[in-house]
C-alpha cells in the first residue's frame, strides 16, 4: 500500500512542479499579454479592463499563481484570448479527442504487438523472427514526422482516406453506423501513424521478455513434463513476462501521448496538439498553460496506471511494503 501511496504523492508533486514551471515560463514572455491584445480591434477597452482586473496581470507572480491554482481547483482554467471564451470547455473537448486517438492506438498497438512478439519469441532465430526483426528495425529508423507525412501523401494521392479533421461535413446527418464509419475513416491515418511508430519498441520488448522466459529452466522443466504448448505459453511464459510488459504498458501511454502531439498536428486531428500550437502562436497564455497541464496529467496518470497494474500483478511489490 505504501508503494502506491508514495507513487501517488510523487505524481502530485510532479503536477505541482509542472504547473509552477509552466506558469514561470509564461512570465518569460516579453511584453504584457494584455498589451498585445490591445492591438486587437475586436476586443473592446471595457473587456480589456475587466480582464485586467480579473486576472490581475500586474500583480506579483506568486499571487497570480495562487489565484490560478485556486481557480483550477474550482474547475476554472482561465480565459482564452484567441477563442474569446473560457479555457476549460475548450480543453475538455480537445482532450477527449486526443484520448480517443491515443487509447485506440494503444489498444491496437498492443493487440498487434503481443501476438507478433510472442510469435517472434517462439520462433526465435527462424524466418518469422528474422522478418519481424527486420521490419521493426526499419520502422525504428523512420521518425514519426516522416511516417505521418508519408501516410498523408499516400492518402491524399489515393483518396482512400480523408486527410484531416475528425468528422466529415455532413456528420450530423449520418446514421449511427454511418457516423461510426465516418469517424473510423478519419481516425485511420492518425491511428496508423501512432501504431506504426509504437509497434517496433513494443514488439521488441515483448519478444525479449517472452524469449527470456522461454529459455528459463522452469520453462524447460514444464515442457519436459509434457504440458501442452498453448498452456505453457499462456500460463507460464506470459505470466512470468508480465512484469516488464506491464511496466512497458504504463510507459507507452506516455510516449504515445507525446507522439500524438505530432501526429495530430500533421494530420489536423482536433486534439490537444493543434490547440496547443495555435495557442502558442497566438500567445494565448492560459490555453497554453492549461494544455501543458492536461498533457502532463495524462502522462502522470498513465505512469500511475502502470504502477497500479504492477502492484496488482506483482506480489513482490506488495509484500516488500514499498521498501526499495
Amino acid at each position: 500500500m505504501s508503494f502506491l501511496l508514495r507513487r501517488l504523492l510523487q505524481a502530485i508533486f510532479l503536477l505541482i512542479g509542472v504547473s509552477i514551471l509552466t506558469f514561470l515560463f509564461s512570465t518569460l514572455a516579453p511584453g504584457n499579454y494584455l498589451d498585445e491584445m490591445r492591438l486587437n480591434p475586436q476586443i473592446s477597452a471595457a473587456t480589456l479592463a475587466s480582464l485586467r482586473a480579473q486576472y490581475d496581470l500586474n500583480r506579483p507572480l506568486p499571487f497570480r499563481y495562487a489565484r490560478w491554482v485556486n481557480a483550477v481547483a474550482h474547475g476554472e482554467l482561465g480565459y482564452s484570448f484567441a477563442y474569446n471564451g473560457p479555457v476549460a470547455p475548450l480543453l475538455w473537448i480537445r482532450a477527449r479527442n486526443t484520448l480517443l486517438l491515443t487509447l485506440t492506438a494503444m489498444l491496437l498497438a498492443w493487440a498487434l504487438a503481443l501476438p507478433l512478439g510472442i510469435w517472434s519469441a517462439e520462433r526465435r532465430g527462424h524466418l518469422p523472427d528474422r522478418a519481424i526483426s527486420l521490419a521493426t528495425a526499419t520502422l525504428m529508423v523512420v521518425p514519426e514526422l516522416v511516417l505521418a507525412l508519408g501516410l498523408l501523401i499516400l492518402a491524399a494521392r489515393s483518396g482512400w482516406f480523408p486527410t484531416g479533421g475528425m468528422v466529415s461535413v455532413g456528420f450530423a446527418e449520418l446514421s449511427r453506423w454511418g457516423k461510426l464509419r465516418d469517424l473510423a475513416m478519419h481516425m485511420a491515418l492518425p491511428v496508423a501513424a501512432l501504431v506504426l511508430s509504437a509497434l517496433p519498441i513494443l514488439v521488441r520488448h515483448i519478444r525479449a521478455a517472452v524469449a527470456e522466459e522461454l529459455g528459463a529452466p522452469f520453462f524447460r522443466a514444464a515442457t519436459a513434463h509434457g504440458i501442452p504448448r498453448r498452456k505453457l505459453l499462456y500460463r507460464y511464459a506470459l505470466r512470468a513476462a508480465a512484469n516488464p510488459m506491464i511496466s512497458l504498458f504504463g510507459f507507452s501511454v506516455g510516449t504515445l501521448l507525446s507522439a500524438s502531439l505530432l501526429v495530430e498536428m500533421v494530420m489536423s486531428w482536433p486534439g490537444l496538439g493543434p490547440l496547443l500550437l495555435e495557442a502558442i502562436l497566438a500567445r494565448d497564455l492560459y490555453v497554453v498553460i492549461g494544455g501543458v497541464l492536461f498533457s502532463t496529467i495524462f502522462l502522470v496518470c498513465g505512469n500511475f496506471l502502470g504502477d497500479l497494474l504492477l502492484y496488482w500483478a506483482d506480489p513482490r511489490i506488495r509484500t516488500a511494503g514499498g521498501a526499495r
Partner: protein, 361 residues
C-alpha cells in the same frame, strides 16, 4: 564494446556528414535562387540514350509548359543539354569560408532539377543539401550543449550530494516527466516569435539544450557517485588534491563513455526536434532552408496531392538515423529500457534505441 564495429559506424556517419558538409560543392545551385517559370517541376530525368544512339555524356531535356496548361511540364526533346562535371557555377563558400565556383555537376542553358523544384522554382536537391547543414548543425550543437550542461549538473549533484543533489535530481525528474515536445514548443513559443534566421537558429539550439539535459545528467550523476567512492579518488585526496583537481583528473574521464553514448542518442533526437519546430514555423524561418521548413509546404492539401517530390526531404534524415542508431547500439546503449529497468526493476533488455523527440524519456 566492439571497437571495430564502433569505428565502422563512426566512419559511415562521417561520410554522411561530409556529404552534407560538402553541400556547396555537391549542390548544383544556390538554394535561394528562384526561377518562377519553373515552379513545381517534378524530378527531371537524366538520359544516356538519345536519337537512337548512346551518349557517353549524360544529358537532359529542358522543360517546357505543356500546351493548354499552365502548371504541367513536359520534356522539350528539341533542347538536349549535356551535363557537365566539375563545372563552374555560382559562387559558394565551402565549409563557410573557402570560396569556390566549382560544383560537382552543372549545365548551361537550363537548370537540372534532379529532385524537382518547389513553388518558387528553387532546386530541391540544393535546398536539401544546404538544409541538411542547418538541421545537422542545430542537432550537433544542441546535443553538445546538452551534454555539457548535463555533465556539469550531474557532476555537481553526484560530487557534492546533499541539498544540491536532491534539488537538481528533483528538477531532472520534473523535466523528464514533462512531455518533451510540449516543453520544447512552450519554451520556444514564449520567446519572440519572429526573429532573424541566425537568432532563430541559436534559439532553437538553446531550447534543445535546455530540454534534453535531464537523462544524461542523471546518468552522469550515477557514474560520479560510484567513482567518488573509489580508493584512487581517496588516495588523491590524501595527497592534498582539491575538489576541482579530483573532478577534472579522476572523475570526469570516467564519464566519457556515458556522455558519448548519450551524444549518439541525442544528436538525431535534436535534429528531429529542429525539423519539427521548423515544420510548424517555430524554427528556422525562410528563406534559409532546413529539412524542417522544406517540409512545411506539405501542410497544404494541394501540395500533398499533386507534388509528391516535396516529401523527399523527409527521407533525408533516415540514413542519419540508421547511422546514429548503429553507433549507439555498437556503444551498447539501451535507449528505452533504461527507465523500465531503473524504476521498476524489470529485466534489462537490449532492444536497440528509438530516436524520437516525442519520447518523454
Amino acid at each position: 564494446m566492439d571497437r571495430r564495429r564502433v569505428r565502422r559506424w563512426f566512419v559511415a556517419l562521417l561520410v554522411l556528414h561530409a556529404v552534407v558538409g560538402g553541400a556547396g560543392f555537391l549542390a548544383p545551385y544556390d538554394p535561394v535562387k528562384q526561377d518562377r517559370e519553373h515552379a513545381y517541376l517534378p524530378p527531371m530525368r537524366v538520359h544516356f540514350l538519345g536519337r537512337g544512339h548512346l551518349h557517353l555524356r549524360p544529358f537532359f531535356y529542358a522543360e517546357r509548359l505543356r500546351e493548354g496548361t499552365f502548371d504541367e511540364f513536359e520534356e522539350d526533346t528539341e533542347k538536349a543539354i549535356p551535363l557537365r562535371f566539375f563545372s563552374t557555377g555560382e559562387q559558394y563558400r565551402l565549409l563557410g569560408f573557402l570560396p569556390s565556383r566549382r560544383h560537382l555537376f552543372g549545365a548551361e542553358g537550363a537548370r537540372l532539377y534532379l529532385l524537382g523544384s518547389d513553388g518558387l522554382g528553387r532546386d530541391q536537391l540544393s535546398r536539401m543539401l544546404y538544409g541538411g547543414q542547418i538541421s545537422l548543425l542545430a542537432g550537433l550543437l544542441g546535443a553538445g550543449g546538452t551534454i555539457f550542461v548535463a555533465a556539469m549538473i550531474g557532476t555537481v549533484a553526484g560530487f557534492y550530494g546533499g541539498w544540491r543533489d536532491t534539488l537538481l535530481m528533483r528538477l531532472a525528474e520534473l523535466f523528464l516527466a514533462l512531455p518533451w515536445l510540449y516543453l520544447l514548443f512552450a519554451l520556444r513559443a514564449f520567446l519572440p516569435l519572429t526573429v532573424s534566421p541566425l537568432r532563430a537558429f541559436l534559439l532553437v539550439v538553446v531550447v534543445l539544450a535546455a530540454v534534453g539535459w535531464a537523462r544524461p545528467a542523471r546518468l552522469v550523476r550515477g557514474v560520479v557517485l560510484s567513482v567518488k567512492e573509489r580508493d584512487f579518488v581517496r588516495a588523491a585526496r590524501g595527497f592534498g588534491a582539491g575538489d576541482a583537481y579530483l573532478v577534472r583528473r579522476h572523475i570526469l574521464p570516467e564519464t566519457r563513455s556515458v556522455l558519448l553514448t548519450q551524444a549518439a542518442i541525442l544528436v538525431p533526437q535534436f535534429v528531429l526536434a529542429e525539423m519539427t519546430l521548423s515544420f510548424i514555423g517555430l524554427g528556422i524561418p525562410e528563406p534559409v532552408p532546413s529539412w524542417g521548413n522544406l517540409l512545411a509546404i506539405l501542410q497544404q492539401y494541394s501540395v500533398l496531392v499533386s507534388y509528391w517530390w516535396m516529401y523527399l526531404p523527409a527521407l533525408a534524415i533516415v540514413p542519419f538515423f540508421v547511422g546514429y542508431q548503429g553507433l549507439a547500439n555498437a556503444l551498447h546503449v539501451d535507449g528505452v529500457t533504461v527507465k523500465i529497468e531503473g524504476k521498476r526493476g524489470g529485466t534489462h533488455h537490449d532492444i536497440g534505441t528509438r530516436f524520437s523527440p516525442a519520447q518523454t524519456d
